[in-house]
């Protein structure tokens, strides 16, 4: 029993530390990014670049909020709910399309805009459309790879759990 209690307390402390770590990161990085990329007194930092920095900060805030929500969601898994309710929560938790994904996609879009604005003045020899496309050549494949990895991860790890929860729910409700 003592070994188990120590393990449980360690797990709780680990989650708490992780949660606090993210909170601290959140409170440090956001103002730092804002200071260096948006309100820096550096005269070489153009207005376009400052807007780009602002986009990066906004995207960062959205990602941090999504991450915090996921940790809270993971912490709130409650095994003492009636089985039907617990299974419904599990099926919801392991869904591929969640409401926060549209926020994540918005953050990706804002990051893209930010990257274009930050590197816009550095590609002076190119037309505006080519400057935008130059970033997309790198950014779009990166995003596609990230989405594919995410789908693969979901398919291997979460889909079987969701399918199992739905199967049990169907049987319970039949």
């Amino acid at each position: 029993m003592n070994d188990l209690l120590n393990k449980l307390k360690k797990e709780d402390q680990f989650l708490l530390r992780l949660y606090k770590g993210i909170q601290i990161l959140y409170w440090i990085l956001i103002p730092v990014y804002t200071m260096f990329f948006v309100f820096a007194p550096d005269k070489e930092l153009t207005l376009i670049e400052r807007f780009g920095g602002g986009c990066a900060v906004i995207a960062f805030i959205i990602f941090v909020i999504i991450f915090r929500k996921r940790i809270k969601e993971q912490k709130s898994v409650d095994y003492s709910l009636p089985s039907v309710q617990m299974l419904e929560h599990a099926a919801e938790r392991y869904k591929i399309w969640k409401p926060e994904i549209k926020w994540a996609l918005l953050a990706v879009l804002i990051t893209d805009v930010g990257m274009v604005l930050l590197s816009y003045d550095e590609m002076k020899g190119l037309s505006p459309i080519m400057r935008i496309l130059q970033i997309q050549y790198i950014f779009i494949p990166m995003i596609i790879v990230a989405i594919l990895v995410g789908i693969f991860w979901w398919y291997k790890k979460h889909k079987p759990l969701r399918d199992h929860a739905l199967e049990l729910l169907e049987e319970l409700k039949s």
Binding site: L4, S80, P160, L168, K173
Partner: protein
């Protein structure tokens, strides 16, 4: 003011028998039973902060034990086996009370019954677990999250299915 650790120890010591009994149903051997108990204790710890005392502590423990067994099946490909001790007091709950003859028959054909139970789905196994714990349909409904009539229908179906299977085996 009682802290989380003390509350956990108190709940576990008061419900030790109940937890290990449920875990024994789902385990083939002592080791599997211990694994399952460990998992149930972990989930009791995780859910302790959300316990407000709205439900009876026994209902709360049963919910965690049953939900753990449902989750364990989802996480591993292995099918949990259902093992009932020969001296289980409530074995008679699997058939109607007035059918004394069948009760005796079931006790004699214990191995067959256990084999048949192991063929059942995990949901039916969960219902059998709660029946063997001598819980009322209302309590089972409260644990599983179904309506009382629905639970009664399901239990009736399980009993029918077990009875048919055993009768077929007896005729062979």
């Amino acid at each position: 003011m009682i802290n989380k650790e003390e509350k956990f120890e108190q709940i576990v010591s008061e419900n030790k028998e109940r937890i290990s009994r449920v875990c024994r149903y789902y385990a083939n051997c002592e080791e599997d039973s211990k694994d399952m108990c460990q998992e149930v204790l972990i989930n009791i710890w995780k859910s302790l902060d959300s316990y407000r005392g709205d439900a009876a502590i026994s209902t709360w423990i049963y919910r965690i034990a049953i939900n753990t067994s449902l989750s364990m099946i989802g996480k591993s490909s292995k099918q949990l086996r259902f093992k009932v001790d020969l001296d289980t007091q409530h074995l008679g709950n699997l058939i109607d009370d007035d059918e004394t003859g069948k009760k005796e028959l079931l006790e004699k054909q214990f191995e067959s019954l256990q084999t048949e139970i192991n063929q059942l789905s995990i949901i039916d196994k969960a219902l059998i677990t709660l029946m063997l714990e001598n819980l009322s349909s209302k309590e089972i409904a409260n644990i599983i999250g179904l309506t009382e009539p629905n639970v009664r229908v399901k239990i009736h179906r399980i009993k029918e299915s077990l009875r048919d299977s055993l009768a077929k085996k007896a005729m062979e």
